[in-house]
Amino acid sequence: MKNKLISLLRQDARLSNQQLAVMLGATEKEIEEEIQHLEKEGVIMGYSAIVNEDKIDDDKVTAIIELRVTPQKDCGFEEIAKTITAYEEVESLALMAGAYDLAVTVKGDNVKDIAMFVSQRLAPLSGVLSTATHFVLKTYKDKGICIDGEEKDERNFFLP
């Protein structure tokens, strides 16, 4: 049940326990306990909304920054990852395989904001070899949801 429950909450975290119970053929109490357990164990870390940024007029800017980093003796990338995680501008941070090491997603009020953040806070960190900043122009799909709305249902309504 655990995986199915997580999969349903990933699709829609606002499903009520009663709805989840029906969908999984369980009791409400079982669902409540399982969710509590998942939250306590840190499997579920939080719930957030998927938002179409174009429809919010706050003109915020999102950038994805590639960092190349020299790993530190003993702790590898952990130390620098911890430092970057603590910056509140940072929305997500991941260690990557491939041409660069850390992918940092940053949100700022404008382009200048982000430029300052990269040049004054990320680039000078010890171990950072280089940065490459990419600005997000438009999001088409986020967390499995098509931001531009669902595809039109093209199936014919008829009984052969």
């Binding site: 199915k4 349903l8 699709q11 829609d12 709805q19 029906v22 969908m23 999984l24 053929g25 669902e150 249902d153 199936r155 014919n156 309504f157 008829f158 009984l159 052969p160």
Partner: protein
């Protein structure tokens, strides 16, 4: 000027267009309809299958296959049926690949029915059986099934409809539109009735992969029934391949050979590209099908619970992707319910009587739709039913 009335076949002229054509036209032409009406999966055909089709389009010539279907595909079908349902068919002489399950049904009826033969049709059921029987000058004899029996065919119901003229029983389980299934015990009881007769069975098992909670049992697996069964299935439902137009039938060699004659003259062969892709479906897509079944199951539970909550009692269907709630508590006929629901809430469901008279008092609701879509539709239906009940009270 040609008198078209005089040139047309009498049997074709007698064939009725669907009685609810008006309703369908209305729904099809309305803007912004929340449909729960279609009978095909909302899932995309699994990528492995599509990839195979792209691959053969690139590398192979798209020529006719053998009339009977690609030999390798028939072998795959034979292995699949053995693996899944423990039924054995010889790929060389007992399997015919058809243009959808629909053609398989057409072939079976045409190969068996003589004028005045009676064909028992379990109802409610898919709409094509009766017209084809009548086109063959046969007599369609509906056997209505009941909600209290979970829309199963009971041995008593079967017995009471058998006459000296009964040629064929059409057994459509898992059932469209009710979602009802027949368990092994249910089928054994039917087999007991048939064992001492010459009645043949057209077992339309197109939804066999889509069952919830228990594994499908094929009628051909029941001892002694293999020899009298024409097994029909296809790729449309389980593998989300409706537009690929591919199905198959399996039958004892003397029957398969006759059906093949009709198929080779009328159709030549099923689409070759689809046949290549279908081999991948049978061999490599168990997991993909399983994922779809799990998703359908969640939706099914939401709808059964939702309708019962609204006050439209809904028995728990164990197969296909339809629920069949009873709408009698609204004091409306199935068609009236559907027309008003469409007009007032723009939600389209199918009147149960479209599937035979015994479907009156019910509506067919498909859950080949996203959860979000289903929940939205349920809310509209709930509003609609509340209004109806209030109006009913005011009128009293």
């Amino acid at each position: 000027m040609t008198n078209y009335e005089s040139v047309l076949s009498e049997k074709v002229k007698e064939m009725k267009p669907s009685g609810i054509r008006k309703f369908f036209d209305l729904a099809a032409n309305m803007e912004g309809v929340i449909s729960l009406g279609v009978g095909e999966p909302d899932f995309q055909t699994p990528w492995l299958i599509r990839k195979k089709a792209l691959d053969v389009l690139e590398k192979k010539r798209m020529i006719y296959s053998s009339n009977q279907g690609l030999a390798e595909l028939r072998e795959c079908i034979s292995e699949y049926l053995q693996r899944k349902y423990n039924i054995k068919y010889d790929p060389v002489s007992e399997v015919v690949v058809t243009v959808g399950g629909s053609e398989a049904i057409d072939l079976a009826i045409r190969a068996l029915v003589n004028p005045d033969d009676e064909v028992l049709i379990v109802e409610p059921s898919f709409v094509c059986y009766k017209p084809i029987v009548e086109l063959m000058h046969g007599v369609a004899v509906p056997i209505p099934t009941k909600e209290e029996n979970k829309f199963k065919l009971t041995p008593e119901e079967l017995k009471s409809h058998i006459t000296d003229k009964t040629k064929l029983l059409i057994l459509p389980y898992p059932n469209n539109p009710t979602g009802g299934i027949m368990t092994r015990e249910d089928l054994e009881a039917i087999a007991d009735v048939l064992r001492d007769t010459n009645i043949m069975v057209l077992s339309d098992e197109i939804y066999s992969e889509l069952t919830y909670g228990r594994k499908h049992c094929s009628f051909a697996e029941i001892p002694g029934m293999h020899e009298r069964t024409i097994y029909v299935s296809g790729f449309s439902k389980a593998f989300a391949m409706t537009g690929w137009r591919l199905g198959y039938l399996c039958a004892p060699q003397p029957i398969a050979a006759q059906m093949l004659k009709i198929h080779q003259y009328a159709i030549m062969c099923a689409p070759t590209m689809s046949q290549y892709a279908a081999m991948v479906a049978l061999k490599e897509c168990d997991n993909e099908v399983q994922k779809m079944v799990e998703e359908y199951n969640v939706r099914r539970r939401i709808l059964v619970d939702g309708f019962n909550r609204i006050g439209l009692t809904c028995f728990e269907p164990e197969g296909a992707f339809y629920v069949f709630p009873c709408i009698r508590s609204t004091n409306m006929s199935s068609e009236e319910f559907c027309e008003r629901l469409l007009e007032e809430k723009k939600v389209a469901v199918v009147p149960g009587n479209a599937f035979g008279e015994s479907g009156e008092g019910f509506v067919r609701v498909s859950y080949a739709y996203s959860l979000k879509h289903l929940r939205q539709a349920l809310e509209c239906i709930e509003d609609f039913v509340k209004n109806c009940i209030e109006q009913k009270k005011e009128n009293v």
